[in-house]
Symmetry: C2
Subunit: 359 residues, 2 copies
């Protein structure tokens, strides 16, 4: 990309001097985006709208993208299929919804004991993640642009306290994506339920516990009223990266500067979305605690059991799936190196300073 840009910079200005050609280079384009998220998950869905506004602004309003929440055109979990088929030009989603197609999708949203938000960006941009993702998306006729993140999520809401792994046995737990497999190994009964149906299921006792995102979004769903024990951290979602999926043919038809506008509009969400969560989550958590939430840190034994279960699962999946194995080997070495480095400066800083401010 570097070389292409430099060449472009040298060659283009003279060719663009003619007004007629400039016009051709700035076509009016209208796209539709379908999201996997409802409008009230406003930091995520609003992120897509934000991206669309930036793309419009960057192109002097000539490239317009209209955003539709989950269900208005396409059901929330069918964004990939709709974009692949060209029903719409693009979609906002999380690859975590497509691990049923193939498990490698998990690497580009979240995995148990995965990379934190900053580490995920380093892997995606500089550690091989971008190339692995492009190869996977190409098989689905899609271009995927990393777009937004939640930070470390919360571990969910439980009707009863979890004091040990024994308390997880048979527990009906709403948990999304690949992490369900980890909880199954730990003895729980994981289940996938769409956001709107979680609260009723918890209230009538059809499930015993549910995890969703973090304080700001969890508050809206009202879990605190029926399952007050609120666990941290969501060790299966150390970060959760969103993706803007673009139909390959629609992408190829864009002028290079419109593609750049999409890329920059999406990449800004890597900053905008976590920063909005970081801004709102502390306030929401305070309100939740005032409303009766019992904040708990997972017992060490539970996290240790999760660590073992997750890594057994990775080894098993890698043994069956060549692409997963190839990505996993790179990803795990990168993760371990990142963990080691972040222990040195980031973690020693935070351990001291966070505690000092609390005294």
């Amino acid at each position: 990309m570097h070389r292409r840009l430099v060449l472009g910079a040298a060659a283009a200005p003279a060719a663009l001097a003619a007004p007629a050609l400039a016009q051709t280079h700035n076509p009016e384009i209208r796209w539709r985006l379908t999201s996997s998220f409802p409008r009230n998950i406003d930091i995520i869905f609003g992120g897509a709208e934000n991206m669309a506004r930036r793309v419009a602004l960057l192109t002097d309003n000539r490239f317009q993208i209209r955003c539709f929440p989950a269900g208005e055109i396409v059901p929330g979990f069918q964004v990939l299929d709709a974009v692949q088929a060209g029903t719409l030009e693009c979609g906002q989603t999380s690859t975590l919804f497509y691990t049923g197609k193939e498990p490698s999708f998990a690497f580009f949203s979240n995995l148990p004991f995965g990379l934190t938000t900053r580490q995920m960006t380093a892997w995606m941009r500089h550690g091989g993640g971008k190339e692995a993702a492009a190869e996977l998306y190409a098989d689905y006729s899609i271009v995927g642009l990393a777009a937004g993140d939640t930070g470390v999520q919360m571990g969910g809401w439980f009707r009863r306290e979890v004091k040990s792994v024994a308390d997880l046995q048979g527990l009906k737990f709403r948990v999304s994506g690949y992490a369900g497999n980890m909880f199954q190994r730990m003895g729980a009964s994981p289940t996938q339920i769409a956001p709107a149906d979680i609260y009723p299921a918890l209230e009538r006792g059809a499930i015993d516990a549910a995890e969703f995102i973090g304080p700001y979004d969890d508050e809206k769903l009202g879990f605190v009223r029926v399952a007050p024990f609120y666990y941290a951290p969501g060790f299966w979602e150390a970060s959760s990266r969103g993706v803007l999926m673009v139909n390959r043919r629609a992408w190829d038809a864009l002028p290079a500067h419109y593609r750049a506008a999409l890329e920059l509009g999406a990449s800004d969400l890597e900053v905008e979305m976590p920063s909005r969560y970081d801004d709102q989550n502390p306030k929401a958590l305070r309100r939740l605690v005032a409303a009766g939430a019992q904040l708990r840190i997972w017992p060490r034994e539970v996290m240790q059991a999760g660590w073992r279960a997750a890594h057994e699962l990775y080894d098993e999946t890698a043994a069956k799936d060549a692409r997963f194995r190839r990505i996993y080997e790179n990803w795990r070495a990168y993760r371990d190196e990142q963990y080691q480095w972040f222990r040195v400066a980031e973690h020693t800083y935070e351990s001291f300073a966070f505690a000092a401010a609390a005294r």
Copy 2:
């Protein structure tokens, strides 16, 4: 901004249909950028070049910015003055170099026991930082766009081990910016030395210790050969935010979509720069340890003395400077709230997972 964009989106396309007008809207513009950093601090200076390439790409090569390293046109510490005077249209710098003009500049680069990279973004974008910065920059006829970050820096290189605050007494320590005041209160003799002069000063014993950035940049300056004790963390630089300073008149003369290209090109550095450091620092640290670096975590007593000295300093500065006081009150409340929230999910995750991977 939200409303303006929506109105723009509705009104613009029809008006832009005429090729001649589109041409007017896409003027050819050439700017020069001067950096406070030399070319060999390549993640930072390369960040400016990266931003310039993205701006060119976004504008179909019509808005070109040529980047000059420190000293080629303007000395590294005079970027603000040069941009204010209009010598060049823009500059890449850190506000930490201008705390001598007024201390409030420190809030927009780094302060002892300040916000981490993600927290800084949350404060800047959603917590009042952006507005406070705009007010400060306006007094210098500048528009400032946040542009890049280093993450938590390292604490520097010491000829002898620091086992207690007593070992800091009279210690000649090269440390940049506002943090020097903190070290002075702790009994050290802080001194500012330009990057190229640090190694010779350490080698001949003119100074006893020096901090610079982190493993990737520190390695290039060769400190390990003369001052092998390498301390973490740089508790005076929990993040260090860069800024793209733009001359106010030059900014006002840009079409809105060129301003958006600058903003998005700069904001992408908030992701690109830390991710390049996160990618490179672990490898550099491993090489440094192999070359003889003795990695040390600061004694708790030293960090505690730093915490006290920093907060005394803030109170004193706030008592003398109304703007500093106003920003500080907002900043400190925001910081404490962020610290409290990050303890819940991020820190509990990292404490467990980083250690688990190391076993």
